[in-house]
């Protein structure tokens, strides 16, 4: 679970990590909008293929990809099933199972598949973004987009201390397990509750120490941020061409070809 948070790939040097995070964020947003507004499955699937291709070229371990996509994939499966058997009018086929009558319907199947494509396309966009942009660069970009400074300050502290607390919580949980704290259901609940309480206590104590350390370095209630450089020429070029690319693809795949 916690290993999922590994962000080592974002610190690699490659063509995508070098792009300004603001450009990447805008491109990702455009791609997301294109995917969720698509009426046909081609565009979302094309986006999915593109992102998976990029992921493959960047040599991201298949295990990580599988991990991140497992939940969305199962959601897609459920969506298709629910929509096929619950919504729609035109029957496709029917079967009986354990005394229940199941009727698959064409509209439902189409709707379900489209939704599934939306999910896969959108998730792959965010996944690609997340493995080529380190968190602090995203925070910088968000600052440029005029996201509230207070929100960002809390976000930065949270992000940083999730890692610190995680180590402590992992040790606490291990110590409980080693003294058989999770071997029976009632016991597990009690251990788990203790763990949650201990996490809160650690966090409150850490808050005091962190605040002390911040104050000793001149903190006056607002975290100071550095300047934001203007978006470079190369990045502007990338941004514009990608946006045009997405628009063209949208036009072609949504309204083009068969009209």
């Amino acid at each position: 679970m916690f290993d999922l948070f590994s962000d080592i790939f974002t610190y690699r040097d490659n063509a995508l990590t070098r792009i300004d995070p603001r450009a990447k964020l805008l491109i990702a947003l455009a791609a997301l909008i294109a995917v969720v507004t698509a009426e046909r499955i081609v565009l979302p699937l094309a986006v999915l293929a593109f992102c998976l291709g990029a992921v493959a070229i960047l040599r991201i371990p298949a295990k990580l990809v599988a991990c991140r996509l497992a939940a969305p994939l199962s959601i897609v499966a459920v969506l298709v099933v629910i929509q096929t058997f619950v919504t729609g009018k035109t029957p496709l086929f029917a079967f009986t199972f354990a005394g229940w009558q199941f009727t698959a319907k064409a509209e439902g199947l189409r709707q379900g598949t489209l939704l599934g494509a939306h999910v896969l396309g959108a998730v792959s966009v965010v996944f690609l973004l997340s493995i080529v942009t380190p968190a602090h660069r995203i925070f910088q970009a968000l600052r440029w987009f005029r996201i509230s400074r207070n929100w960002l300050e809390i976000a930065i502290l949270m992000y940083r201390y999730i890692f610190v607390l995680m180590d402590r919580v992992a040790d606490l949980a291990a110590a409980q397990r080693l003294r058989l704290g999770y071997t029976a259901r009632g016991r597990a609940l009690r251990s788990f509750t203790t763990l949650a309480g201990a996490t809160i206590i650690h966090s409150l104590e850490q808050a005091q120490r962190t605040h002390d350390a911040m104050r000793l370095r001149g903190y006056r209630g607002t975290m100071p941020f550095g300047p934001l450089p203007p978006l470079g020429r190369r990045d502007r070029l990338i941004l514009v061409s990608c946006l045009i690319g997405i628009a063209v693809a949208y036009g072609l795949l949504e309204w083009g070809v068969s009209g």
Binding site: D3, S6, I8, P61, K63, R168, D171, L172, A174, A175, Q176, R177, L178, R179, L180, G181, Y182, T183, A184, R187, T194, L195, A198
Partner: protein, 289 residues
């Protein structure tokens, strides 16, 4: 009889860092063994594997002649106990008594037996007077001892400690090491400790494993280990201070010293042989006699 048998174990974390690459580690019952290594050498990973918190992909781990995977949690944790570096991570009850009773209660022992084990464990770490104290009123050294008692109450035959003296002041350090020695010699517990502090070890450990970058660089009794100055440096460690003095006198000044004394006692014996008797002050000689 073997208490712990690790053969050819590799371990790679999910993010791709290879923490252990082919480690063999064997401990007999009743031994006092140290895993010595710098930060990031793989000590903590090895410990994690020994107590089943991590699972090795390749290689074999046997605890008291049985494959670790074939042991249930109850069986495993009555054989090996782990004392964490930071007692804060291990103490979660309100009072000392409750905390030490946590393990025995989870074994579903009758309350009288729980009681007995708590008393015993606290007595073993010289913490009986702390019994009714609140955990957060204990000093750091007391917390360390209580967390040891919590593990002792599970009656493991193998006790593993991660940096048992970290953060302790000299008095606390000496007390902790004496305690471990007593548990090892008198109660017959097998003791394994992971540490990067070298000065205390020669006095206590039967054998030392030097770990570096996930490999065992060398293994043997401390006299042997500390003879290999280059290996010690390579592992980002150092000689105990006394040995360093002896080493420099032997190497740079040409003083004829046999082997390499590791403790103050050994160094004293060797140096006294070298110093002419007539230089020794007489009054003190008499006093001694």
């Amino acid at each position: 009889m073997k208490a712990i048998d690790v053969t050819g174990v590799h371990f790679t974390y999910d993010d791709g860092t290879e923490a252990l690459s082919g480690v063999d580690f064997h401990v007999s019952e009743g031994e006092f063994v140290a895993i010595l290594g710098s930060n990031g050498s793989g000590k903590t990973t090895l410990i994690g594997l020994l107590v089943g918190l991590l699972k090795a992909k390749t290689g074999q781990i046997r605890i008291g002649e049985r494959e670790i995977g074939s042991l249930s949690a109850e069986e495993l944790y009555q054989r090996v106990g782990l004392v964490f570096q930071n007692p804060n991570d291990q103490l979660f009850a309100a009072t000392v008594e409750e905390d030490v009773a946590f393990g025995p209660r989870n074994l579903n022992l009758p309350e009288a037996e729980v009681e007995r084990r708590v008393t015993e464990a606290l007595a073993a770490v010289a913490a009986l007077p702390l019994r009714c104290r609140a955990i957060h009123h204990l000093s750091f050294g007391e917390q360390k001892r209580v967390s040891l008692a919590g593990v002792m109450a599970m009656r493991p035959s193998v006790l593993i400690l991660d940096e048992p003296t970290a953060g302790l002041d000299p008095a606390g350090e000496a007390q902790m090491m004496q305690l471990l020695k007593k548990l090892n010699r008198e109660e017959g517990l097998t003791v394994i400790l992971a540490t990067h502090s070298v000065d205390m070890l020669p006095l206590f450990a039967n054998r030392i494993y030097v770990l570096d970058h996930g490999r065992v660089l060398q293994e043997g009794p401390s006299e042997e280990i500390f003879c290999h100055q280059e290996m010690i440096v390579r592992a980002k460690l150092r000689l105990p201070y006394v040995s360093r003095l002896m080493y420099e006198m032997k190497r740079h000044d040409g003083v004829p010293i046999d082997g390499l004394p590791l403790t103050i006692g050994e160094a004293r014996v060797q140096l006294l042989e070298l110093i002419p008797k007539e230089l020794i002050i007489a009054e003190l000689e008499e006093k001694k006699a």
